[in-house]
Symmetry: C2
Subunit: 536 residues, 2 copies
């Protein structure tokens, strides 16, 4: 049986964002049936293989001892490889199936909803594959990518250092040339997701470091790749120094990685590591935004099941007006976020399959909104899910608490949501004088729903105000950037739901109507907050 | 050194809500200096005795084995008794200091902010003392209360059963008369905070149960008291069947309690147990609302310390515009909530010390708002505190994650926030046709701040709308009750801050202005949500 989430993903891909038409235009048609079959298979894998062990995995956690990390995932990961899921959207020339990024987004949502800690491994590997596909030489790619695409090796991204988080420009890891075209990396990286584990024989590390002649700051950072096990079969000088004790994602090892003269190769040009990493990060941010959707979906699944069977006052609590309200909030927010993630992923596909430059601009605009708005909503929805459970929500056995604990990291990593808001304001909206945002708002403004049209117009005015303030007082503008991004998210969520309702009024009309009546006003509320803050 | 929280509590008690004037009118004057001294001593105890062990206590947790519960608090609790803190606001006739409830509220905030798991024990004991003070016979009171007031025995409230949570009317625990004026209790109670522990020799249980001749439903519930150790020194037939594994408050044992023919006495009249318990619950809800304040205060303390020393982009992150915004949100919300808790607590004192019936009505109105709005804000502020920390916020060592994990229960227990919203709408506002709410809004409407006056007027209109809808479609009204309560909270928070700013513009003017500009619009946003939901 297909889950509600999977059914909605199929509906979204085929009837809202138009994946069949896009693939047909690109000459590699995927029918609605093809899409349904792939998503249904992904759903089955996630429901049957990942979901059953997720709670026990959280309880056991990843365990560190003497440089060795043990996870609860050895068998699960073997099934991941066996299913070939890592290859889904990977390039065909390296052994991938070359399917659209939007299908990988669907897989990401289903996997993250089933077991976030597990799915982080494949997500990071996908990011590393993406980075190497764009920046490695053909010779490098041939050595690493086939085994990453098969899932035989995983990938890990090594950026953060203790003193260099949001500000990567100050990182200190050194890369000394060894004379043979290779480099010795020395330094400490922290917060390395799946940096060490027991699921594969080898791990490919992508590491930001400085060459000896590097200029200071972000323009002196280069990108390197190295492997845990070297080509001659010996261990590289890379060691896990410990793992973090965290609020959630307990079974995903968050590692301190020590590079102690590790043998590495440069990837791409010297001093061009940060742009290479940022290009990759856009896709990673799409993945993290999708985690927000997944946490909403996981919370909703548990809350609906609990509310249907818990009787108080002579009827299931799902029928109590305030619990019904909470469930409708969870449903409408999760569907809105899901469709927004698919809309964003389709920009990746439109650019990749049709070379559509406009899609690239749209993607750049939507990415920070997706990342921040969906992950904030994931936390909010997970918390609402706990509330639906009453006292049981706080007890770990029910699973609802784990969803919130796992969800809480998503607004932080891959660039905090505050960083996303500044990215949206400065590097996206202000950069082109608001042109791409206005183009998007013009589309929303063509909605047949008057409330959406009015909200789009009001948000256009807010955008003008933000541009004006950003031009004369950047710090003032940045102090309301989060509110601005949030308003954009509420507006676009409503737009996606209105489109879904237009396609299938009987399935999604009530959900959209709930949102447009009760949640769309949050866009105006955020605008009022901005206006209040900027008032002289 | 006095903490910021303690300084603000002293300021609030002495200059905003007017405790010195009230105590003088009551003929038992407490000067501003007296109040400052008591709060400063409480602050010292919490900072020096409770706070240092809170993180280790969370990590160790309460441990259950064979009916025995071990906590990390044996030594800490001994210091609690030694300091005489339990007696602070307890009645003088039972050995208490008889100080105002508003001072106990200050102690509650400081203790909960220092170590929530610990402070829950004293808070539940205070609730039991309150209940017995009002409902026990003098003879019963003399046997139990002095040892509870000293802290030598703790109290536990036994209400919830597996199938009876928000709906206590269906509870099944039986009370069989033993013929000697005593009763044998048989049944299972769950979610019993500090139901079993190793800090005291004895525990007094207040238990809701049914007499054999009890009518069905909530009118057939009586209140009983029994002790873990009977007067002859033998163990009563009360057993802890296990403790819950929870998201937070790990060191507070949440017990399954089995009454297996436990010898008990009735407290109050037969079948009148629920009203007795609900009267006590109003005070307990004040205590839980204060927990929300405490979680905001704890989150703020950690976030301010981290943001001051964490350097990114060449300056402390506290100076980054969006981090500065988060800190201001945390400060203004926490201060607003703190003052609202004191305002509510002062109603308790006005009623108790002056016999002021109007204060009783005001207390009834404010209690659900305080409980729900402050605990929602506690969760929100704790989450913002994590965000200020970036990646470190998700790592347990930083402490910020524990604040959120501990805070998340407060919107659930002592009546979920959904129940509070219905209580506000149905049993408070609709009950008197909105009279008390209008009286409160008239006070807010006399504020010199035009934004507050406008917000009070708008909320008055929303109140009229809610009353109208409640009269003809109670389920529709209840589906927006949470939004209505939340709007009330944002309005009253602004009112408290405006009063603080008027008293001391240099200390609190900027905080109030931030709130009035940026957060007060949330009241209007909730009104828009209600309007949207109720639109035909």
């Amino acid at each position: 049986m297909t889950s509600t989430a999977a059914a909605d993903l199929i509906f979204g891909l085929t009837r809202v964002v138009g994946l069949p038409a896009l693939t047909e235009a690109a000459g590699a048609p995927l029918s609605a049936e093809d899409i349904a079959q792939i998503v249904t298979e992904a759903d089955r894998f996630c429901t049957e293989v990942l979901m059953p062990g997720a709670q026990a995995a959280d309880r056991a956690g990843a365990v560190y001892a003497n440089g060795v990390v043990t996870t609860p995932y050895r068998e699960t990961y073997a099934k991941w490889i066996e299913g070939g899921w890592q290859s889904l959207a990977a390039p065909a020339e390296h052994g991938g199936q070359g399917l659209p990024a939007s299908l990988w987004t669907a897989m990401t949502e289903l996997g993250m909803a089933a077991d976030t800690s597990f799915m982080l491994g494949p997500l990071l590997t996908a990011g590393a594959i993406d980075c190497l596909t764009h920046h490695a030489t053909p010779e490098q790619a041939a050595r690493w990518l086939p085994r990453m695409v098969s899932g035989e090796w995983t990938g890990a991204m090594c950026l953060t250092e203790p003193h260099a988080g949001s500000d990567l420009g100050v990182l200190r890891t050194r890369a000394e040339p060894l004379g043979n075209g290779r480099y010795a990396l020395t330094g400490q990286k922290i917060f390395i997701t799946w940096g060490e584990h027991d699921c594969t024989e080898n791990i490919v590390y992508l590491v930001l470091a400085r060459l000896p002649d590097a200029p200071p700051g972000s323009k002196g950072i280069s990108l390197f790749a190295c492997t845990k096990v070297k080509e001659d079969g010996s261990r590289n000088a890379i060691r896990c120094g410990g793992i973090e004790r965290k609020m959630g994602i307990h079974a995903s090892p968050t590692c301190i990685m020590l590079f102690e003269g590790a043998e590495a190769e440069m990837v791409g040009e010297p001093h061009r590591g940060l742009p290479a990493m940022f290009a990759m990060m856009n896709n990673a941010r799409l993945g993290v935004g999708t985690q927000g959707v997944a946490h909403g979906a996981a919370a909703l699944r548990l809350a609906e099941a609990y509310a249907a069977q818990r009787i108080q006052g002579g009827r299931p609590i799902a029928e109590h007006p305030d619990v019904a309200r909470m469930l409708m909030e969870m449903r409408s927010i999760t569907l809105a976020a899901r469709l927004l993630a698919l809309e964003t992923a389709l920009c990746v596909d439109r650019h990749a399959l049709l070379g559509d430059a406009a899609a690239q601009n749209r993607l750049a605009l939507l990415t920070p909104i997706l990342k921040a708005w969906c992950t904030d909503r994931g936390v909010e929805t997970a918390s609402t899910g706990i509330q639906v459970h009453g006292g049981m929500g706080f007890v770990e056995d029910a699973g609802a608490a784990q969803v919130l604990r796992d969800a809480r990291i998503a607004p932080i990593y891959e660039g905090t949501n505050g960083i996303q808001a500044i990215d949206l304001l400065v590097r996206k909206v202000a950069k082109d004088g608001g042109a791409e945002m206005r183009a998007l708002l013009a589309e929303v403004g063509r909605s047949p729903d008057a409330r959406l049209r009015a909200a789009a117009e009001a948000f256009g005015a807010v955008t003008g105000r933000m541009l004006e303030v950003q031009g004369r007082d950047a710090e003032a503008a940045q102090s309301v950037a989060v509110a601005y991004l949030d308003a954009a998210g509420w507006l676009l969520g409503g737009w996606m739901l209105a489109r879904a309702a237009a396609e299938d009024p009987s399935a999604h009309g009530a959900t959209a109507e709930f949102y447009l009546r009760r949640l769309l006003p949050r866009a105006a509320a955020r605008a009022a907050e901005i206006e209040g803050a900027l008032a002289a």
